[in-house]
Structure formats: C-alpha cells, structure tokens
C-alpha cells in the first residue's frame, strides 16, 4: 500500500531516444507496438526520427491523432486499430493528448463498452482486468504530458471531459530526450513552459500531504523560472531545453499530490466541442486569477513561491506571473483564443466536477469558476 508512490522507470538524457527505445522494446517483449502521436505535420521530423529508431525485428504502426485532441472517437478508433493490427503495446509520442490517449487505449483493449465505464476513482477499477498492454511514454514537448500519472483525460462525445483514473494505465517506461523538443516553435515552447509552471505551483499548494511531491514541485518551479525565457528566445539552446524538460517532468511527477482550479478550468475548456486550444496558454491566462482566488486559503506557501521568483515577501505574485506571460508573448485573455462568452457556463459546471477541483486549496463551486472565467475572457 502506498500513498506516495514513485516507481516509474524514467530515462533522461540527450540523444537517448535511439538506444532507449531499442532496449525497452526488447525488455517489454514488444514486437508490434502502436505509436500514437499528436505532433502533426509541422513536426514530421521527430516522428520520422522515432520510426527510424524502431529495430528491424519490430514492426510499428503509426496513428496520428486527428486535430491533436484526445477525444472519445480517437480513443475508440485507435483501440480498433490496435485490435485489428494485433498490436502488443503502445508508444505515446508527443504531448499530453498522445500520452493520455495511449493510456486510455490500453484500458479499452479487451473491455467492451465505452471508455467512461472505467472512469472514476478507485472502486470502479475493480471492474477492469488485472493487466493491460504496456505503454512507453515519450514526451516531445517540455510541458506536462501526464507521463508519470495514472490518469487519462478524454473529451467525450457528449461534451463532458472524463478523467480515467486507474493504476493500471501508468506508463511502464518514460523516455525523456530533450533533443526531441529542439524543433518546437517559440509559441508552443512558451505555452508548454507555462503549463509546467502551473503544474509545479498547483501541486505545491494542493491540499494533500505529500512532502516528496512538494520538493519535486519546488525544484521544477526553480528550473522553469530560470530557463523559460531562454528556451523561448532561442529554441536551439540545448541547456535551456534540458532544464525545461526536467521542470516538466517534475510537474508530472508532483501530479500525484493533486492539481487545482487552473487545471479544473483548462480541462473543462479543453472539452469544448470543436475547439482546439493550447492547454499551456489557457493555463497561463487562468493562473493569476486562481492564485488570487486561493490567496485566503494559502498562507506561507505563496511566500515560498515568491522566493523562487526572486521576489520580496511584499511583492505581488500574480503581477509577476502576468509580466512573465507578457515577456514570452502569450495571450492575456481567453477571448484571444477563440473562446466565447456562451461557452463559459458549461465550462464552469464541468470545472466543478473535475478531479483537479478536489485538491484546490480553497473550496470552489461552479459559480466561483464562472466568475474567474468571465474575468479571463
């Protein structure tokens, strides 16, 4: 029994992809992996690099997620592909969509019915089988990719956002190769970096008690603050890329402590039909508003976060985050990202129900989320 569980095997080094993939495929005995990617046409180079890495004795099938969104349709489509092609494992290659979908697909394999049957915490996982095909997670952005998390988030057909929570879907191996992020454009680098920052801050102030996660979150925070602007300004700065990938990994590792209101809302907005949002950029808009809302509930921890920013205790933390967001040229409001006033009410209800809302330090109802979303528009 463990409440604090750190067991995932993680490779972390530059130019490690080739060696690690070969070794891990062999160790897991995979001969026919399905590769799930959300990198899109713009990043064909890294996808080719992965395909060239696959040893001759192994045949891999590539599935590119339509529009890069982890939806119920994509999950069922990939699961059918997996079964028809007789795959034996999944490589999640990309951002949170690819890795979440890889995890969700393994849960659907061998189970009838829609994926939401297996959603939910604890008890309901009793209705799932004891083993699922293994997942190898390979992040290709330095934002949190859920690579060390036993949760998969899917946008369902009915507009809801479902969190599949099941210990079985934890990736068996994570391969972090910072050179895979060298081609990421500045805008996405900025968004992913703010996502990593949000993960570190939200887990750090989350209600649960998990001291190792606190340490990991704070270390991640330090790395983002020191390197995000360098990585955005010069994508070829490998040292900055490495630090950002480390920070993102820290954010994912701290996730087991629980997230908060920013993610409750960005998961909800991510579920809006037909909208393809940049998760990190959305988080960057919402973060200062949630920090302000949470202020009465979070005492000393804001001072500690300010220390990492190099701010004096009297300084305004929200202000510092807004300034950072401006310096890396991310949008200041949700309206700039195609979200409309009519979307907010449903998103607020969905945010209240999101599992991240449960560990937000201040109790927040749908009406609180609606006010914050309106302020963010």
């Amino acid at each position: 029994m463990s409440l604090i569980s750190y067991v995932t095997k993680i490779h972390f080094a530059e130019n490690l992809l080739e060696d690690a993939i070969e070794v891990e495929l062999e160790l897991l005995g995979l001969r026919r992996p399905l590769i799930i990617s959300d990198n899109g046409a713009g990043r064909r180079g890294i996808v080719d690099r992965l395909l060239e890495t696959i040893p001759r004795s192994v045949s891999a099938l590539l599935y590119e997620i339509p529009a890069g969104r982890a939806t119920e349709e994509a999950c069922l489509e990939a699961a059918t592909l997996f079964a028809d092609w007789e795959a034996d494992g999944v490589i999640g290659f990309g951002g949170a969509s690819a890795i979440n979908l890889a995890k969700a697909v393994t849960l659907c394999i061998g189970h009838s019915g829609p994926p939401h049957k297996y959603a939910g915490l604890g008890g309901r996982s009793a209705s799932t089988r004891q083993t699922v095909p293994p997942v190898i997670a390979v992040p290709t952005i330095a934002g949190s990719c859920f690579e060390t998390v036993s949760v998969a988030i899917l946008s369902m057909r009915d507009g809801r956002v479902m969190s599949l929570v099941n210990p079985l879907i934890m990736p068996r191996v994570v391969i972090c190769d910072p050179t895979l992020t060298l081609d990421l454009p500045a805008r996405q680098t900025a968004g992913a970096g703010m996502d990593a920052l949000t993960h570190c801050i939200e887990t750090y102030i989350a209600t649960a008690y998990n001291p190792p996660a606190d340490g990991i979150a704070r270390d991640g925070l330090r790395r983002v603050i020191a390197h995000i602007e360098r990585a955005v300004a010069d994508g070829s700065d490998l040292a900055a890329r490495r630090e950002m990938m480390a920070a993102a990994l820290n954010g994912a590792l701290a996730h087991q402590k629980g997230l908060g209101g920013v993610h409750a809302m960005s998961h909800a907005l991510g579920g809006l039909a037909g909208k393809s949002l940049e998760h990190g950029a959305v988080n960057a808009v919402l973060l200062p508003l949630v920090l302000e809302f949470n202020a009465p509930a979070v005492a000393a921890r804001y001072d500690e976060i300010k220390q990492e920013f190099g701010l004096p205790p009297r300084a305004d933390l929200c202000e510092a985050i807004i300034r950072l967001r401006e310096r890396i040229a991310l949008p200041a409001c949700l309206g700039d990202m195609g979200i409309e006033a009519g979307d907010l009410e449903r998103a607020a209800v969905s945010a209240e129900a999101d599992y991240s809302n449960r560990t937000n330090p201040r109790h927040a109802a749908a009406s609180d989320y609606l006010s914050m979303l309106q302020a963010a528009l």
């Binding site: 409440l3 915490l121 008890g123 209600t207 087991q256 509930a297 449960r358 560990t359």
Partner: protein, 278 residues
C-alpha cells in the same frame, strides 16, 4: 417508526438507507461516517458540541470516534438518510492523505452538484440492486469528494475536528483490549477499571482524555458492532444476541439497537445485502 430501506455490507464497511423519524442516543463509530439527507423534512445532527442542520445542500462528515446523534426529527414525517460507514483502511488506498484514521478536516460538507449526483446514483443503485462494483466505485468517489472538500478552505472559516488523540497510556490500552475481549459477557466497567490497574474515577478521566469518549459510549459501540456482525453473519435468534451482550430482555436490546443504529435489529437483518469482495 424508523425503517431501513437498504443496507449494504462490503470491504468498504457499510452503507445504509434509513427512513428516520426519531432522535437517537449519542454514539460513535470506529469508521469514518458520512450522512446525506436524501428527502423529507429538515433535521439536525449534533457532533461533539455543535449542531449542524441536515438538508439537501448540507451533509456532514464525522471522524472516527466523534460523538454524534440525530436530533429534531419529526415523529410524523420521516426523513430519508444515506449513511456511509467507511473503513479507514479501505479508504487509505484511494486517499492521498497519510492518515489512516479517516479524520475529516471539518464536519460540514456542502453538497455540490457532483456530490449530489453521486448520492443519487448510490441511493438508487442500492434500491435497484445495481452491479456491486458500481456501488463500491460510487462509495469511493463520494468519500474521496467529501474528504477532499473537508480539507479545503472556505470563507465561513473552518470548524476543525479535534486533533488525533495523543499516545495512549498502557492502562487505557489494556482496558480497551479487555472490553473487546469481554464484549460478549456482561461487562461491569468497575471491573474493567480494576483489572486495568486504575481507580474508577481515574479510569473514566484517563479514558475520556485519551480516547475522546467515555467508556460507556465505547462499550456501546462495541456492542453495536458485535450485534450487527451477529445479525448479518449468523442465524442466531435476536433474543440470544441480546442476552449474550448483557441485555436483560429482547425489548431492552431492541431499544438499545434502535437508539444507536436507528432501526430495529430484525429490520436490519431483513434488508442487509453483501457486496462482493471488490
């Protein structure tokens, strides 16, 4: 008269649907306890020294060994309650808090939309004999949601439950062990005090200090647990169970059971349902 609509026992502990129309005696459980008002007139519940209203938007979470009782129920018009008794160890697996005692941060729980939905799913699932794994799943989610909320900050301020008891005196530990071993006999608390090496007043004082409740209430809890266990796992006549627990007649046992559990022993036995070892 109070009646039971459904009772489920399982690895999680137990969960009940009761129509209550009479107040109960002060009592405590070793499980984490959650009470939701499903329908009927508003009632209230006393927990330690505070009184909390019980209606649709307001539920309560009671930590193990916290004293409580239902109050101000309408004898003519029963209220329907969904009540969870969650075993801390079962919950520990799903919780992120390093506290095996399932101690809640505060007693008052706001019934948010997601919580209301889970209460509805659970209550209707129990009445319709839904798939066992779904009942266990809803129970886990509902407990998690309430537990997490009880540790979140709210504007009205937090009425925190008392701290976990400090390390216990070995004599008090002994007395607890003695009571557990002798629950099926007629327990005389004076003897328990003596056999634990304490004078009667000192025994009561130390016990109260360290366990948080009086020896009498503790003994009642043990009797209640034993009674529920025998009612649900054996075919022993109700009269025998009562006599074995030291009650002089079936009537006095039934009175005790109603005051502490809420419904009659035969009623409990009639509706209990075992949920598999999910």
């Amino acid at each position: 008269m109070s009646t039971a609509l459904a009772v489920h026992h399982g690895p999680f502990g137990r969960v009940t649907l009761y129509n209550l129309d009479r107040s109960m005696a002060l009592h405590a459980h070793r499980e984490g306890h959650l009470i939701f008002h499903v329908q009927g007139p508003e009632a209230s519940i006393r927990i330690d020294d505070d009184i909390y209203p019980m209606f649709g938007r307001q539920a309560v979470a009671i930590s193990p060994w916290q004293l409580h009782n239902y109050m101000s129920l309408d004898p003519g018009q029963p209220s329907l309650f969904l009540t969870l008794y969650i075993k801390p160890f079962w919950f520990l697996e799903a919780s992120r808090q390093p506290n095996a005692s399932l101690r809640f941060g505060r007693n008052q729980i706001e019934v948010t939309e997601p919580i209301a939905r889970l209460v509805y799913l659970l209550a209707s699932g129990m009445l319709e004999d839904a798939d066992d794994s779904f009942i266990a799943g809803y129970l886990c989610e509902l407990t998690q949601a309430c537990f997490d909320q009880s540790w979140q900050w709210v504007a009205d301020g937090a009425t925190f439950t008392r701290c976990a008891p400090p390390v216990r005196d070995f004599r008090v530990r002994n007395s607890v062990k003695l009571m557990q071993n002798r629950v099926s006999e007629r327990i005389v608390l004076d003897n328990i005090a003596r056999d634990s090496g304490l004078s009667r007043p000192h025994f009561y004082k130390l016990f109260r200090q360290q366990i948080g409740i009086t020896p009498n209430i503790y003994l009642n809890t043990l009797r209640m647990e034993t009674a529920i266990d025998r009612l649900t796992t054996t075919h022993d006549p109700v009269t025998d169970i009562g006599l074995d627990l030291g009650f002089s007649s079936q009537a006095s046992f039934t009175r005790f059971f109603i005051a502490n559990v809420g419904i009659a022993p035969s009623d409990y036995r009639r509706v209990v349902h075992f949920t598999g070892t999910a």
